[in-house]
């Protein structure tokens, strides 16, 4: 492996991180939205959300990527590889995040809502002051778990020509006929990325501890 090979894998890392972050920034709030729709039992919408979550959860990410890149043009939507990858990763993480948020919501004691209602809090304040802080704390481990999984599911988008960490490492290995060094380097990069996110999780949890929530 020469310097160029290391550099190409690092370039892949940049793509892995950006794809993960963009899809998570969109997917985590969207997941919350879907979870709230299901929690509030909004007619029709809750069923649509339910179907969406189950469809996406049963669809392997690679298949989803292939469908978006190759099947959407049949319906007149032709995306370039990068937007197609972001769309697939976002659709996928939204479904999983929805379930993380929902697990916190179903555990949420509804008598607290009644109490807040009795105190005259309007709906926005009930959500903002009572519900959200508590489900955020309960969802944190699950969300960070999904974040680490998302980083590791990005190799799925390589199938449409996006060169993220794993693909970059594979290219180096198939050229040098020595696959082990690039894969070890790739593993180190993945570990470093996940390490940063786990530190972030720890930081959030520490903050909660200081505030006396945990």
């Amino acid at each position: 492996m020469n310097a160029n090979d290391y550099f190409s894998i690092l370039q892949g890392a940049l793509l892995t991180v950006s794809l993960s972050i963009v899809s998570l920034i969109i997917g985590i709030p969207l997941g919350l939205g879907l979870a709230l729709i299901r929690w509030a039992k909004l007619p029709l919408l809750k069923d649509l959300a339910h179907v969406y979550v189950n469809l996406i959860r049963s669809c392997p990410t690679v298949t989803l990527v292939l469908l978006i890149y190759y099947a959407l043009p049949e319906f007149g939507v032709s995306l370039n590889p990068l937007p197609a990858a972001v769309l697939a990763l976002t659709l996928s993480t939204t479904a999983f995040n929805c379930e993380v948020w929902r697990s916190a919501l179903v555990e949420f004691p509804k008598d607290q809502l009644d109490a807040a209602y009795a105190l005259g809090l309007n709906q926005i304040n009930r959500m903002r002051l009572i519900v959200f802080p508590q489900i955020w704390r309960a969802s944190l481990p699950g969300l960070f778990n999904e974040i680490t999984l998302q980083i590791k599911s990005t190799p799925a988008v390589a199938v449409i020509g996006i060169v993220e960490i794993t693909r970059a490492a594979l290219r180096v290995g198939s050229n040098t006929y020595e696959p082990l060094p690039p894969f070890i380097f790739a593993l180190l990069i993945y570990s470093a990325i996940v390490f940063v996110f786990l530190k972030l999780q720890k930081y959030f949890e520490l903050q909660m501890k200081e505030k006396g929530y945990l």
Binding site: V62, Y69, Y70, S174
Partner: protein, 293 residues
């Protein structure tokens, strides 16, 4: 010792890919048939007129199929990429090349995202139903290789011997056909045992340690093996009849096919194609037919 064994197994990753190509057709076929059944073929591959008004032909090439196509220091190279470079020079129209892994390539052609798969596609009867192929760019023949110094030299020497090939591969099919030929010829005596392997590095290892007397694979792959490990392996004889490797286009896209064929046949006539074959495969295939469709 450790590094050495890594190197010897790693060096065969291209032969690995060979079978993948043949077997992966199944997975791809599922997607293709789903699309066909759903009658989603609204968007067709751009015809010659559309390509001309758009100004370019879109093609897809693999990134890890050495020596046919691979990426070196961020730049795509290999036999097909260099051949495409020659084709570009012959044509007035631009060619836009996307690099992606094998599983995305043939679906890209059937769905019309790309006009052609400029990659080493083995021409098979099944694929002829879905694709039109350009004039062949390379030939693939199954050969066997043995450990250096082995007494097995000709096909007849394989009688009573243990031979390995990759499971589900075209090479295994060739080996089985050879076995029944040998049995006819030698009064019921054929190959002692055909051992099927998941991938070739293990088979090569078993030839090295004597568990196998020979291993059957394509000539191009065995050449690359022997080039990397000339101390260990030698090429034996031909096991099967030649199959061809060509670029694949969506069936019926005759205009673009003729355009590519014109350039490819010119390049072949001038001898430049044979030079590239010599450079990347160590052999030239001058007896290939003009058309494989």
């Amino acid at each position: 010792m450790f590094l050495r064994s890594v190197k010897s197994s790693a060096s065969q990753s291209s032969s690995h890919a060979w079978k993948r190509k043949i077997v992966k057709l199944t997975g791809f076929g599922v997607l293709a048939s789903v699309l066909t059944v759903a009658q989603l073929h609204i968007v067709l591959a751009a015809s010659l007129d559309e390509v001309k008004s758009r100004g370019y032909i879109a093609v897809a090439t693999e990134d890890d199929f050495k020596p046919f196509e691979f990426v070196e220091n961020g730049t795509p190279t290999g036999f097909d990429t260099e051949l495409l470079g020659l084709v570009k020079k012959k044509m007035s129209i631009d060619i836009k090349q996307d690099i992606m892994p094998w599983p995305g390539i043939l679906p890209g052609v059937t769905t019309g995202k790309y006009e052609a798969a400029v990659t080493a596609v083995l021409v098979t009867t099944e694929r002829k139903g879905t694709f039109d192929f350009t004039t062949p760019v390379a030939e693939s023949t199954t050969y066997f290789a043995t450990k250096k110094g082995s007494s097995v030299k000709s096909v007849d020497d394989l009688v009573g011997k243990v031979v390995g090939a990759q499971t589900g591969s075209a090479m295994l099919g060739d080996l089985k056909a050879l076995d029944s030929d040998l049995k006819k010829k030698h009064g019921g005596n054929g190959i002692k045992e055909i051992v099927e392997y998941q991938s070739y590095p293990e088979a090569y290892q078993d030839v090295g340690n004597g568990r196998l007397d020979a291993v059957a694979n394509t000539q191009i792959n065995l050449n690359s093996l022997i080039q990397t490990r000339p101390d260990m392996f030698v090429l034996g004889a031909k096991v099967g009849s030649p199959v061809y490797i060509a670029w694949a286009l969506k069936k019926g896209n005759t205009g673009v096919l003729q355009l590519l064929n014109g350039a490819l046949l010119d390049i072949r006539k001038s001898g430049a194609m044979y030079q590239l074959q010599k450079k990347w495969f160590g052999a030239t295939f001058e007896s290939m037919p003009q058309s494989v469709n």
